[in-house]
């Protein structure tokens, strides 16, 4: 805490804070909890729309999907703890985001985990990668929530600081949402779930509010330990309490623990809370007041309950074998008052802790222009060699090794899960509807141009949702950046926000919330500016969900969109030219919107047998993936210069297969929306033939695609 921040506390209290109060302020006013560097920029994001039921500022965003149902979703970072202790760091990230969803009154129905690591040729990166994946699986697989997606990328800039984001999607009835508010003087605060210990005192809030330097392993005790079994009981008990209408309010305990949960719920309701710290069930004896107030022990929820319903609440908890203790009550004075051993140990205004944290307009300074790109036509390798290099690049190659460690089918709703799909499709039991969910980000584009990088991330997320036939509804995000006190990083952040805003406005997909993760750097070297977008879309009929893979032979194959020679930040440039240079592909938001409209309409009319987003790696990769996943060959003739046709990453494109009887209607639809549709070939045959360039067998393509990551992990 800075001197000015300390003086602000003294001004508010009219006196010096005691040690306990100071601890409460320092966690609540940390970068992680207060968003002090990002707030001024976040305010410029579009957050409203008829579909938005709850926007930023609550535990999670909520959108209306019709029929009285609502989708609740949120993304968060757990990069800092994962860099120190990958298994537990990632596991507790999953636990935290799931509780955010429950606290809105929703059942968690899907998890996605966008991850970034350094190259797998390095042993420490392999350790981090393996640990994070095992932690996500170890926790997610035990709580009965399917893990259905999340993209994975590798870049040297993420070697010291891996990026571990977690996203959860939940389902609630629109009128059954539970407010995260401590309303009603005299109501009781019930702490449910795990006991409170010393683990993770100031964990996330402290770790995520400064850079990790050498010897960061000393911070291990700050990383919390997850108990997924207790989380599962919490899920079931909370959902039963909600269903029975027994709760006034509900909030999870995450960063800044009890201090955050109590002050935020009170501040939202304009009330205060009086907490008896002696009533908090402890894991060990002798915890001090500030430790109980700031502990980030996992698997805890704070319920606000009326005295008449307390008995019923405690019964539900008992039936599930869950601890539950009354630790205080709602009061009218607007203060968070904490007592221990019969004495008042802290009295601070709830609003001051939760809402009146500092806010900075930090200086911005543009980063230097990136180096100029090499002209790819000077290339000496053959197209065929380049193809196998790109297909076997870790960013492109199959992530089977990862997604097979995740239970993607529990809950019986996964129409399309991990692997071979652009977006996961989860049907909503009984209604016939489904939600499509995708997470996207492109580190290289962001490194070259943070504005375009962010806009591309939104566009790709929208496209990934739309290729399934779904209508993109809204986004959440996790904004991963370096140290905000450096003007270059803050400029990257501001540019990213500008890109996010423009794209979200163009696609009418408002921002419903998210998370900012700063200080992802060590030794002055920051991660690439990495805004990760989590997009949710709606499919009216899950049986109309369009697969990404070619389903059969004899289909007409179309390439939608325009292809220009655009190699800046491409996978081809990275692995063949070995550079991240130049400018990323241009993005025309109007053209992208037209493509999104074509995809949704065509899916709704049943005109598409398959549709696959064309992005990283270019058309060659898109077509090959559709063949491998469908186990079907293809013969295509791509127009124009073959290098560009195969590997350029021009935006707003998709590869679609269409049954012969539907081609006229499909072409007419594309024409109506002004989307160029090139009929490039047919599915069928033994291999993948790029006429005018080269051909490969599906088997050899599959081998390269499937073995790249296992081979790297074998060392």
């Amino acid at each position: 805490m800075t001197d000015e921040e300390y003086q602000a506390v003294v001004g508010t209290l009219g006196r010096e804070p005691n040690r306990t109060e100071l601890a409460m302020y320092s966690v609540m006013w940390s970068e992680h909890c207060s968003y002090k560097s990002s707030k001024v920029h976040l305010r410029t994001l579009p957050t409203e729309g008829p579909q938005v039921l709850v926007g930023p500022g609550d535990d999670a965003g909520v959108v209306d999907i019709g029929d009285g149902m609502a989708v609740v979703f949120k993304m968060e970072s757990h990069s800092h703890p994962s860099a120190i202790e990958p298994y537990q760091g990632a596991a507790t990230g999953v636990g935290g985001i799931v509780r955010d969803i429950i606290s809105m009154g929703a059942r968690p129905i899907a998890l996605l985990d966008p991850l970034r690591f350094g190259p797998l040729t390095d042993e420490r990166n392999r350790w981090l990668f393996g640990g994070v994946v095992a932690g996500i699986g170890g926790y997610g697989n035990c709580i009965g929530v399917p893990t259905v997606g999340g993209e994975i990328a590798f870049a040297e800039a993420h070697s010291a600081n891996p990026t571990v984001n977690v996203m959860c999607v939940g389902l609630a009835s629109a009128d059954g949402l539970v407010p995260s508010r401590a309303d009603g003087e005299g109501n009781l605060l019930v702490l449910m779930g795990a006991t409170t210990g010393r683990d993770g005192i100031g964990g996330v809030s402290v770790l995520a509010s400064a850079t990790l330097e050498e010897g960061g392993e000393d911070n291990r005790p700050s990383v919390q330990i997850g108990d997924p079994f207790t989380e599962k009981l919490l899920i079931e008990a909370c959902l039963e309490l909600i269903e029975k209408g027994l709760l006034v309010g509900l909030q999870d305990l995450g960063g800044a623990g009890l201090t955050c949960a109590s002050s935020e719920t009170a501040a939202r309701a304009g009330t205060g809370v009086d907490i008896d710290l002696d009533a908090v069930p402890l894991r060990e004896e002798g915890l001090e007041a500030f430790e109980i107030l700031t502990s980030e022990s996992q698997e805890r929820m704070l319920a606000i309950v009326s005295p008449e319903q307390l008995g019923d609440v405690l019964n539900v908890c008992r039936e599930w074998g869950l601890h539950a203790a009354v630790i205080g009550s709602v009061v009218g004075d607007g203060m968070v008052t904490a007592r221990k051993d019969g004495e008042v140990v802290a009295v601070v205004p709830a609003k001051s802790l939760a809402d009146e944290g500092p806010e900075y307009e930090r200086p911005l300074s543009p980063m230097p222009a990136p180096p100029a790109a090499t002209d790819p036509s000077t290339l000496t390798v053959s197209l065929r060699e380049a193809f196998f290099e790109v297909l076997g690049a870790p960013n492109i190659a199959s992530k089977r090794w990862v997604f097979e460690q995740y239970d993607s089918i529990v809950q019986g709703g996964t129409v399309a899960g991990s692997g071979g799909t652009d977006a996961a499709v989860i049907r909503i039991g009984g209604s016939g509807r489904a939600v499509a969910v995708s997470s996207d980000g492109n580190g290289r584009y962001g490194a070259l141009d943070p504005y375009l990088g962010a806009a591309h991330a939104v566009a790709e997320a929208a496209r990934n949702v739309a290729v399934t036939g779904a209508r993109p509804l809204a986004i959440t995000n996790c904004l991963n950046f370096g140290n905000p006190e450096r003007p270059e990083v803050m400029w990257q952040f501001a540019e990213s926000i500008r890109g996010l805003s423009d794209a979200c406005r163009a696609f009418d997909t408002p921002v419903t919330g998210g998370n900012v993760s700063f200080y992802n750097e060590s030794g002055g070297s920051a991660i690439w500016p990495t805004p990760v977008i989590g997009m949710v879309g709606l499919l009216e009929d899950h049986r109309r969900a369009v697969p990404a893979s070619f389903p059969q032979e004899g289909l007409a194959v179309y390439l939608l969109g325009e292809t220009q020679p655009e190699f800046g930040g491409s996978e081809f440039a990275d692995v063949v030219l070995e550079e991240v240079a130049g400018t990323p592909p241009a993005l025309d938001l109007a053209k992208e919107s037209a493509l999104l409209a074509v995809l949704q309409e065509a899916a709704g009319a049943g005109l598409m047998a398959s549709a696959h987003d064309c992005s990283s790696g270019g058309a060659a990769v898109t077509i090959t993936e559709a063949c491998i996943a469908g186990d079907v060959g293809v013969t295509v003739e791509l127009p124009g210069d073959q290098l560009t046709a195969l590997f350029s990453e021009s935006a707003s494109r998709a590869v679609v297969s269409v049954a012969s009887g539907d081609t006229m209607a499909f072409e007419e639809l594309c024409q109506r929306h002004g989307v160029p549709a090139a009929h490039i070939g047919e599915t069928g045959g033994f291999g993948i033939a790029f006429v005018g360039a080269f051909g490969v067998t599906t088997a050899e393509a599959r081998t390269t695609y499937e073995t790249a990551i296992p081979n790297l992990l074998a060392g």
Binding site: G137, K232, I409
Partner: protein, 234 residues
């Protein structure tokens, strides 16, 4: 209508999916709570997948002491059909209702994957209505699914034809490539000698709805329902 009880332990995960599958196939699912020894006159019992009681000591080790397991033991002794899926299979082994045990996958990693299994014996409620040798596509998802048993037990299991399912290639041939967890003899599921208790690691309840993927679990659960009806009729 055939009533199939599905047990919910704290930490059960696929209990809802098992109930849904039974309903989808025309049976009547009944939720059985782990604290109740009374099985509510069900015709069959399914112990579903999950991590009962967190499985922190050993998979299935605590669940077997639940009151409901006393009821299930009596039910099984009376010849009632009992099916253990994944964690349910682990619980049946821990309860000594089936021989052997399930340990960590040979890869030491959790595996969620669609596999093929071959029906090896018609003597079980899941396979009575399925031709031996039939190959079915079903998913597995487990971290501890490697079936092991002592040399004597394995000999007895094989000798008495207690193997109900083996992992196999799509053409039905059994080889190590098709074995997702390193199980002895590629064993995916076994039955007891009487033939009324059967356990398997794959999840038939996740393979009945064509909207979600292959339907290799359908014939197995249909067999269970028909077997119950035949028992009720006799």
């Amino acid at each position: 209508m055939t009533k199939v009880g599905v047990v919910t332990f704290p930490g059960s995960l696929d209990d809802g999916d098992a109930r849904e599958a039974i309903r989808f196939l025309g049976g009547e699912p009944v939720r059985l709570w782990h604290k109740d020894a009374d099985l509510q006159d069900v015709d069959a019992v399914i112990l579903p997948g999950g991590f009962s009681f967190g499985d922190y000591l050993r998979t299935g080790a605590i669940a077997r002491f639940s009151p409901v397991m006393q009821g299930i033991r009596r039910f099984a002794e009376a010849g009632g059909p009992v099916v253990g899926i994944c964690n349910g299979f682990q619980i049946l082994c821990e309860s000594h209702l089936l021989p052997g045990a399930l340990i960590r996958n040979r890869s030491l990693r959790f595996v969620c994957r669609w596999v093929d299994i071959r029906v090896e014996s018609p003597v079980s409620p899941l396979t009575a209505g399925v031709k031996t040798g039939t190959v079915l596509r079903v998913p597995v998802k487990h971290g501890e699914g490697q079936f092991v048993a002592s040399v004597e037990d394995l000999a007895r299991i094989e000798g008495a034809e207690l193997v109900a399912f083996r992992y196999c290639a799509p053409d039905g041939s059994v080889d190590e490539v098709a074995n997702p967890n390193g199980s002895a003899g590629s064993i995916a599921g076994i039955r007891n000698e009487r033939g009324n208790v059967v356990g398997l690691m794959p999840h038939p309840e996740h393979a009945v709805d064509p909207d979600l993927g292959p339907v290799g679990g359908e014939p197995l659960l249909v067999s269970l329902l028909e077997h119950c009806m035949a028992r009720a009729g006799s």
